[in-house]
Amino acid sequence: MVEMVSRPYATAFEKYAVAHPEVLCLSADLTSSCEVDGFRDRHPDQFLSLGMAEQNMMSFAGGLGLAGYRPFIHTFGVFMYRRPYDQLMASVAYPRRKVRLMGFLPGVTTPGGMTHQSIEDISVMRSIPNMTILETGDATEVESICEAADSIDGPVWCRVLRGSVPRLFDTPIKVGEMRELSDGTDVLVVTSGICTEEAMRARAAFAKAGLSIRHLHLHTIKPFDSDALLDHIASVKHGVVTLENHVVDGGIGSLVAETMAEAGIGKRLVRLGLKDTYAHGGSRPYLMRFYGLDALALVGGIEDIMGQEFGITETHLDAARVDDVHSLVKAEAL
């Protein structure tokens, strides 16, 4: 049974910020929802409430960066780039301010529907010069995201998990690297964020079916180590499947496709994720099933690559975790 960690960000941010006085905690009226309410109460001098005014917050953070501070902005990811995109560009990204953009509720991890689900943020951030992109997939990565982000000389976009988070890894994020979770030779599976846990649910079933899967987990999306990925692709016979909590256009599916195309790799690629569609409001397991982001979708992708069916059904997969709808670790329904 996987270990569940309660509110790893809350603990990790406080520990990191207290040790680094140049770090400032910014929030836009989602303080408890981003697990920094305790920090606000215990360290009010290091906390700045900027209200529901993200455009000002983004440029304000740029000004704080100019003054030598390293602001960590806390809000839902979707509110940090859609409305204040111009400010993100002009006040943060262009001048390479050391602003750490802590985007909570990535992709379908919220029942809030279209307005709350950041489904194209990676695509947007990948195309912004000077931007670094990190994504957390487990509690250990959430615990290490502050130090990892704050090591970057420039702005950093982070996809952060909150609430009850599984511990899958025992080593912190090392920016620029990727995790090799299994070293098979048939198919390469590349996942990030919450999709990594999904892929791990299918591990035993694949082994039983005689499939040798090489599985990579990406926590650093930009900059990206193309050479390392190409080595892994060269190590598998049949092809590559990507699975992401994001639209496949511009996300890690595109990243892998571009890497393969530029290197002239003639192998199959199946990209799983949101396919040119918005999601809607619902529970995470429901949304992951409905939009094809879960372990069963991965099985389908691998069957596509292999050109055969393996008879793997839900009963062969490790059980999915189902969070209580009103768990104490959640700040609110959203």
């Binding site: 409430s49 917050m57 953070a61 704080l64 100019l66």
Partner: protein
């Protein structure tokens, strides 16, 4: 660094330079020189506490944008001197006032006249819309409405550090149509940011024409006060009024000086172009010649010789 000339002379010099440039180049941001010359002259010649320039009098060419591959990158802030704690900082929020701002740098001895010859030339850092790397600029403000927010963040940070220097933002009135301006003022009021000071060129003009015809903004001063700023209205061509306004007490609030100005002050013939004054490009050689003679007379100089 203090200039020996009086501020009225600096303002006149700014207008002469912008006028000469516009006649020679068959157009320019002439109207902004009419409305804003006193404000920029006063800031640089009297009000701002700035150190000596740290960048060459003749601007270097464009040396690339900020990037991890460009470690030598720097902004144009060095024309305003070093960013030491005791010194003031200035953002030109409406970056299309750059021509007027560059002329000001020349008039106060912070840039060589050759700098203006580089204006809007390919490969030059003296860009038409002031960029971060353009002389006198420290941040990108070409997208209107972000300057006051950036100034607020810098001012809050400087106050936290105990720095004595103020952060000044030169603004334009069109920016009050942007919601971000009001977000910035409410944030300043909430956080008591009172080392932030702004002077706004209220010329009632914007790109499409007179602001009242594009989008009415109502009583700007009252709106600023309600949002939590200390707001003073003055005649923007009266330098003594600026001096008085800057002395206003504004504890716990930002100071915003509304400088009411005329978009054709000292260049009366520009009234012919009202209400399209945002960028004056001469419509004919005849208009160019008439304006040359008329404005030169207004500014007390001979008409400019130019290539037809």
């Amino acid at each position: 660094m203090r200039n020996d000339r009086n501020t009225e002379d600096v303002a006149l010099g700014i207008r002469r330079r912008v006028f000469e440039h516009s006649i020679r180049n068959n157009g320019g941001y002439l109207s902004q020189a009419c409305s804003a010359a006193e404000q920029l002259a006063w800031l640089y010649n009297e009000q701002l506490n700035l150190g000596d320039p740290t960048l060459p009098m003749i601007p270097k060419p464009f040396e690339g944008v900020p990037s991890s591959d460009n470690p030598e990158y720097h902004t144009g802030a060095g024309y305003n001197g070093p960013a030491d704690p005791q010194y003031d900082r200035l953002f030109i929020a409406p970056a299309h006032y750059a021509l007027v701002a560059y002329a000001t740098l020349i008039e106060v001895g912070r840039m060589a006249p050759e700098g203006l010859e580089m204006f809007n030339k390919d490969g030059s850092s003296v860009e038409m819309i002031g960029a971060e790397h353009s002389p006198g600029m420290e941040v990108h403000n070409g997208t209107l409405g972000i300057g006051l927010s950036t100034g607020s963040g810098l001012a809050w940070g400087r106050k936290r550090r105990g720095e004595s220097g103020n952060t000044w933002v030169f603004m334009s009135d069109g920016e009050v149509q942007e919601g971000q301006t009001w977000e910035a003022v409410q944030a300043c009021a909430h956080h008591g940011i009172d080392n932030l000071k702004a002077i706004m060129d209220v010329n009632r003009q914007q790109c499409d024409g007179a602001m009242d015809s594009v989008m009415k903004v109502g009583d700007i001063a009252e709106k600023f006060r309600i949002f939590g700023a200390h707001c003073v209205e003055i005649d923007g061509h009266d330098i003594s009024a600026m001096r008085d306004a800057a002395q206003e007490k504004h504890d716990g609030k930002p100071l915003i000086i509304l400088a009411n100005t005329s978009p054709y002050h000292t260049m009366n013939i520009l009234q012919e172009r009202f209400p399209r004054l945002h960028y004056v490009r001469f419509k004919s050689e005849d208009e160019r010649a008439r304006m040359n003679v008329s404005i030169a007379a207004d500014l007390g100089i001979d008409p400019i010789e130019y290539v037809h």
